[in-house]
């Protein structure tokens, strides 16, 4: 494993297989929190943070407990419980040791438990992927966690910027609100489709 493959993983997760626009993971917060730019940035930071920690913890659980004990079929139950507990723990630790960060991220943390992007990144790290043809190593899992979070933040911030402008636009009645946000996301996804020409996987 070299630095090249870590770069490949990052670019793959941020641009080519963007979590929101290409893999449809984490759509609920994507449409729910993208109305204002400031809250989009806060949500993005919280997701990067939790995704990185979740990637680490679930990798350790997968490789130190589930695989040696042949309990891999319990993966779904264990991962979702770990993530739910982790979010609570992160919330408590932040509240105690970094009140300013807690102020900034606090309200977004409870929303993250049911964010499918977090469980998604844990499952993808543990599964066999196209790049390395085996589950990620610990370092690769961390990089994939950070990069997926950044990819999510990028899409969320871009979307929030567009939606702030969109409020002033004259949208046809039935398309007001969520439908026009979907059209925007669709156009953004077409733009991101352009990155799929990057030939990193061979």
């Amino acid at each position: 494993m070299s630095a090249i493959s870590l770069i490949q993983i990052s670019i793959g997760a941020i641009l080519i297989n963007n979590f929101v626009l290409m893999k449809f993971l984490g759509l609920c917060p994507f449409f729910g929190v993208s109305k204002r730019l400031s809250s989009a940035v806060g949500m993005g930071m919280a997701v990067v943070f939790v995704m990185t920690v979740a990637s680490m913890i679930t990798w350790i659980i997968q490789n130190a407990l589930l695989v040696p004990l042949e309990l891999a079929y319990l993966q779904t139950i264990v991962f979702i419980l770990v993530i739910a507990a982790l979010v609570q723990l992160v919330e408590m630790i932040l509240q105690k040791f970094s009140p300013s960060l807690y102020e900034a991220l606090g309200i977004f943390l409870p929303l993250i438990t049911t964010n499918c992007a977090i469980l998604g990144v844990a499952l993808l790290n543990a599964g066999i992927n196209a790049l390395t043809a085996r589950p990620y190593t610990f370092l690769e899992a961390i990089v994939s966690g950070i990069a997926s979070g950044i990819g999510f933040t990028l899409a969320l911030v871009l979307m929030a910027g567009i939606r702030e402008k969109l409020e002033l636009a004259d949208v046809p009645g039935p398309l007001k609100g969520l439908p026009v946000a979907f059209v925007t996301a669709g156009l953004m996804a077409i733009a991101f489709l352009g990155f799929s020409g990057f030939d990193f996987f061979r």
Binding site: T76, I77, I80, T114, N115, G173, P179, F182, A189
Partner: protein
């Protein structure tokens, strides 16, 4: 009563098209009707089963830890679906991929557990799970029919219109967003027309 409940689940409170819940799986797997139907039925099974269990044990669960308890119940049934699908429908399992385990975080299921099954009796929760699951499945099928016909000119794997050039963007990611945008737009248009009357 069944008729009114069916209308509530499929039309007036449709989980995807009206309430906008469970968007991730509905956009990701609606690339073909078989996938959409498979996902819809799997989610319906989990929804009905978890609603039954949660309405039975609601008296024993302390208020503070109810969400983790609900998630464990839901995750158990998702694991059952995962194992059954892997054994008997390996092709469907491969094309749904990561979205089978992700039924756990489908907000329709947790939403119904929290809003309905934890407050109502067994029979009403069962009916609610059934109609909401059907509403989810119907909406998924509508999306998948549009995407499969426009994107690959096929329906259930069979050729649809001879001489029609399929627009492959509709089975790629952007097509999912555009399809749901216009289906929701049509639904809103019909609703506004009805309210104006």
């Amino acid at each position: 009563m069944i008729g009114a409940e069916l209308k509530r689940g499929i039309v007036t409170e449709n989980p995807i098209l009206i309430l906008a819940l469970g968007l991730c799986p509905s956009l990701a797997v609606s690339t073909s009707l078989v996938n959409g139907l498979g996902m819809g039925l799997a989610a319906t099974f989990v929804l009905v089963a978890s609603n039954i269990i949660i309405s039975l044990v609601k008296g024993f669960i302390p208020e503070k830890v109810r969400i983790p308890c609900f998630i464990v119940v839901i995750a158990t049934f998702v694991t059952i679906v995962q194992l059954v699908m892997k054994a008997y429908l390996p092709e469907l399992n491969a094309s749904l991929g990561i979205f089978v385990p992700l039924i756990v975080v489908n907000c329709v299921i947790l939403g119904r557990a929290e809003a309905f099954a934890s407050k109502n009796n067994l029979f009403r929760s069962l009916i609610d799970g059934l109609v909401m699951g059907l509403g989810f499945t119907v909406a998924l099928c509508i999306l998948s029919v549009f995407r499969e016909v426009l994107g690959s000119n096929k329906l259930l794997g069979l050729k649809f219109l001879p001489g029609f050039q399929p627009m492959s963007v509709f089975i790629l990611a952007p097509g999912g967003f555009l399809t749901i945008a216009f289906v929701m737009g049509i639904v809103n248009y019909v609703r506004q027309k009805k309210e104006a009357k």
